[in-house]
Symmetry: C2
Subunit: 349 residues, 2 copies
DNA sequence: CAACTTTTTGCAAACGTATTCAGGACCTGT
DNA sequence: ACAGGTCCTGAATACGTTTGCAAAAAGTTG
């Protein structure tokens, strides 16, 4: 057409109204006559008009954008993204889109000035953090965010210090169900592979669920059956090597994550152990690969659709100054082939 | 401090210069005295000042943001994201970050007004498209983007109609290498599972590479050994069912993607066939799950780091009005257990 | 020291929208 | 006919930068 791009003034001119009315009409303001509104909208459509987001942001002082930040334990391989988080990505974008928010994605080393980079710079109204808080220094950085009144939500991490900023799965219940399932198919010596320190809040909770199930079954908790592992395949393999070498007998393992389970299974096989005949294995997360393995992996699925929705809704509420009590995402046991006993379970029915 | 957020005026006031100088200093303009620049930068740092992106965008008319759009064959399950694309996501964000671009991510149904939604609205300066162009209507939509002078790059799809807008892997070479490998371990009747129609340009190229290898080896191309499949596990399984039922003998399959291979392997096993003893399998993509399978999957790896970098560099060049001849990403055969013959290959060395 | 170039600065005008405020048009009831 | 209300619209302004232009400051030359 004329010179540059179409603006709300062009629409206004064509419609014979003022620019202010166009702005109102396009935002469905009740202040504008329905007929006028439709006429304006029609013209806008015809001209392929789109509101200039930059101008809109500048004027209204909010970006309608969320930032999704991935962070991982800096000790792990940075080129490998945790598959579980990836599978959450899709659901988060969809949830954001439904709420008419854009999503900015970034992988970065954890730094304590995110809110500065994203909120202060008017790039995003809120931040969603995804990552296992599995290293020291994490707490301090989060505290800075809280002190700065940043709008952010963290997946998974817990603790009173981030009240209202955390959404997670009910890890204790998930781990309890997993362990109980192993007990129900007759396993007695169940090992826990993971990290039970506070450095990894989620893994710690999973350990608690494991203990709770054993206690509920009247069994003791054997420290020799607990082997440390970080959320990596290789770490899971190393843990099994250690366990096997110790000579301590075991007939099942519950791992704090699927990635650990995958490494563990490989190493178990290398040690000549059959799965599930000699050792039952249950993981946690239900990453896509879990069903592709053979034997396919029994695991705890986290509802990533609900999780994505919750994260998005929650951070948007914070942005709007509302308070929303976080609900825990419910975990679900997915029984596949890696722990056997399916037939016996079937018999019980 | 005072009332609202810190602006460049505040900095200017403190530094005793004009706001214009602050703006220039922070952008490292050569027009400003080095000493003054450092003084201004120091103050900015102290005040935690961040340039307001909305204002910056509005004035400069570019967003320093790229949009990454995923699209999938609408016939496939929308909730499942192609794992190969997910593994590219990380590399694309990193490449974008290196170039100081933000990345907007979205999963949407393919529509022909992306450039309108993203570029016209000043949300992004350019678009990266990720997805198998495996359905009709795709070409028309892309043509509209070209006609609108949109800044975009597509991964994978090819053809003269999108000259300069496409970056891909050398699918023909990859498939050629895969097939040649199968031949080298003594396989004779190699089936192709995939889509050889123009609807799926990449799969078609992989089919061509397959044919080329067979021809180079002096073998014929048997239509009965070609079974249609889309990029899904279930489709791969169905294809194998069909092949087995046909009674046509085969001792190897080359699938157009790892997902297909995964479904194929499951179904082969169900048919009582041993892998790799009875049938060798080679996939394409090297998705994370490929190495977790048992037997682990021999496949063609695409260099996603180089690919991400290329996509980002390319679209940024388009934005800047430069012309960059796209380079093909080099595929690499990753030999694992699913095609056997490792020993025989080793013998040959 | 004048004339001229180079470096460094400030002024002021955009960029395109959202929103406040004031007012016009149109009813309603008396 | 007029006061009082409701509904709709337009003029004008502010959001915080970037950048063209002009001019001051500093340096160079004859």
């Amino acid at each position: 057409m004329g010179s540059g791009k179409t603006t709300s003034f062009d629409i206004a001119h064509r419609a014979g109204v003022s620019q202010a009315t166009v702005s109102r009409a396009l935002r469905d303001s009740p202040l504008v006559n329905p007929e006028t509104r439709e006429r304006i909208k029609k013209i806008a459509r015809e001209l392929n008009y789109q509101i200039d987001r930059a101008a809109s942001r500048l004027r209204s002082q909010h970006s309608n954008t969320l930032a999704l930040l991935f962070f991982e334990d800096p000790t792990s391989d940075a080129s490998q993204i945790n598959p579980f988080f990836l599978s959450m990505l899709g659901n988060i974008t969809r949830a954001a889109a439904r709420r008419n928010y854009d999503l900015l994605v970034s992988f970065q080393q954890l730094s304590d000035d995110w809110h500065i980079k994203y909120e202060v710079s008017n790039r995003a109204d809120g931040i969603i953090l995804l990552g296992y808080g599995a290293y020291s220094g994490f707490k301090d950085k989060v505290k800075k965010l809280i002190d700065a009144d940043a709008h952010f939500v963290i997946w998974g991490a817990t603790g009173p210090h981030l009240r209202g900023h955390s959404i997670g799965c009910d890890n204790i219940k998930g781990a309890y169900d997993a362990t109980t399932h192993l007990l129900s198919i007759g396993r007695k010596n169940i090992a826990f592979i993971g990290n039970k320190t506070i450095d990894s809040p989620e893994f710690k909770q999973r350990y608690e669920g494991y203990c709770k199930a054993l206690t509920a079954a009247g069994l003791g908790i054997d420290p020799e059956l607990q082997v440390y592992a970080t959320n990596q395949e290789t770490s899971g393999a190393a843990a099994i090597a250690e366990l096997v070498e110790s000579g301590k007998p075991f007939d099942a393992i519950f791992t704090a994550s699927d990635l650990i389970a995958i490494g563990a299974i490989k190493r178990l096989r290398k040690a000549g152990l059959q799965i599930p005949d000699d050792v039952s294995v249950v993981g946690f997360d239900d990453i896509p690969a879990a069903s592709y393995l053979s034997p396919s992996l029994t695991t705890i699925r986290q509802d990533t659709i609900a999780a994505g929705q919750q994260l998005v809704d929650h951070v948007i509420c914070m942005i709007n100054g509302e308070v929303l009590e976080p609900k825990k995402v419910v975990p679900k046991l997915v029984i596949r082939d890696s722990c056997g006993g399916k037939s016996s379970a079937a018999n019980q029915l």
